[in-house]
Amino acid sequence: MRVSDLVKSSQATLKHGKMRSLLTMLGIVIGISSVIVLMSIGASAQQYILAQVQGLGSNLIIVIPGGSGNGRFASPASAQGIVVTSLVQQDVNNLEQDPSVAAVTEENRGQANASFEDNSEVVTFDGVPANFFAVRNFNVTEGYAFTDGDVQAYNHVAVIGPTLAATLFGAGSDPVGQYIEVKNIQFRIVGVLASTGTGAFGVDQDNIVMVPISVAQTQMLGVTYFNDIMVQANANYNISFAQQRVETILEQDHNITDPNKDDFTIETQQSVLSLLGNITNILTLFLAAIASISLIVGGIGIMNIMLVSVIERTKEIGLRKSVGATDKDILQQFLVESVMLTFIGGVIGIALGGLVVGAAWLVITRVADASWAFEFPISAILLAVAVSSVTGIAFGIYPARQAAKKSPIEALRYE
């Protein structure tokens, strides 16, 4: 039997029962569109999260207090909310001496109310040295970033994020020169940061007050250790080498001989990207796996309808066998019908998924005004086509075999 005859015959059968064909396809359409939507949203979320991490800069090494052992996904103790005091000024001083290091900066963070007149807002305050702005590429759009002099003199000056500026002073106003109160200290605003947007996991990075680290440590937090140290690698050195040097210096500082017992954790952009990439991939696959349950349900629907079709067309099977069709011809015919059903269902599902993803993108970018990439991965489309076709074969083979096995005499007698 020629392929063209198989396709033509299947087309004629599916067209004859249009409504039935459409309803049978529905399960596959829903299944495939769900897979497409979830994979697409997963890919967009991945892009979004990774873009935030890439904003750190490729030559940045972040040192977090607390060890993370050998576990690939283990987080440092400090990231779990445990206070770890292992990173101190001596570490910063020693790191600055190494030729592979271009700059070292550190920070101490906390949360408090920032208020101006009657307006008040819970914010992150970030105590940083003057070089922090340059190392992290934080630009000041109005006023200036505070200086080493301000840090050394314990001046009560602050640079605030644009979200906080808008909340406390109103959109479009110039807060430079005004005073805000944080933790009962009056800070004079000397600058406003350029927007860096919403960070990974939805944290607004623009709702922030940056103050001299000297003031934050002594007058706001009462600590001598740092929440983290950031090392900018010297461009003349390989980042891995610089990372190795940072590790060695800190181990020497902390008298650690066994690297497994490090009381700090080193992250680079690459390692964070790799880790987040793995996590988001697993999440995407997990979501796709859930969505594919509906594909199985759709496949069972196809099998059910095909079995009914085999019974209804028993006499046709008998006739075809009497005029020369072999078991293989009959099997192929029913199999092509079910694959055609799932394939067309898959194509409609891809189109529907594309529409939903497009609509979601419009809502997120226009209504929520967030930066969100429209991701419609080719891999998801290919996977959807392949999965829908395989579903057709998997769930069509049983009814097709039932049809092929029919005895021509019994089939011709069937009423």
Binding site: S322, K328, I409
Partner: protein, 236 residues
Amino acid sequence: MIEVKDLKKDYIDEGDVTSALRGVSFTIDKGDFVSIMGPSGSGKSTLVQILSFLDRSTGGSYTFLGKKIDDLSDVELAHIRNKSIGFVFQSFNLLTRLSVYENVEIPLIYSDVPVPERKKMIEDAVHSVGLDEKLHVETAKLSGGQKQRIAIARALVNDPDIIFADEPTGNLDSVSGAQVMSILDGLHDAGRTVILVTHETATAEFADRIIRLRDGVIESDEAVKNPRHSKKEFIK
């Protein structure tokens, strides 16, 4: 063309054996027109099913065009059925969702005839039953007699060696029945072998010879004395 010797067919159902054919022997030559008659349960349907390879015997031997049928696989038998046998059924067995053209095309699909060559073969077959104007009509819209004539066209399209007609007038009025028998008679006159299964004597006498079965054995196998006279009477 057909030679059966001591043909037997037993059906076994939960240990009970029913013998539908108990040793049947005859030969049919090319160009013969043979009717097979018999009451219900006589074994005539079983005999035709075995002769047309829709079923296999459980004893004896069957030779078709010089080939021992027992030695052939199901796939080989399907190919012979496709190339050498045309069926005309009592209930027409047309696919009503398809047009006349598509119904007549079905045997050609299984003989791998290239699509461009099919058109003329189908048109010739439909022309031979006098329904050219119905070529692209849906078969559901045809009368019973027209349906049976299309079924004959389908049986003829592959130019088979033999036509098996199983009660071809059973579902037709007398006028349509006469038309159908007239076509079968014409095919015989043109040199085609025709085997007709019927329980109506008037229809059976279109043939040159009638084999009568009873209880799985041949009761009589004799020539029709004056087939021409019988035909005229039937058509009247």
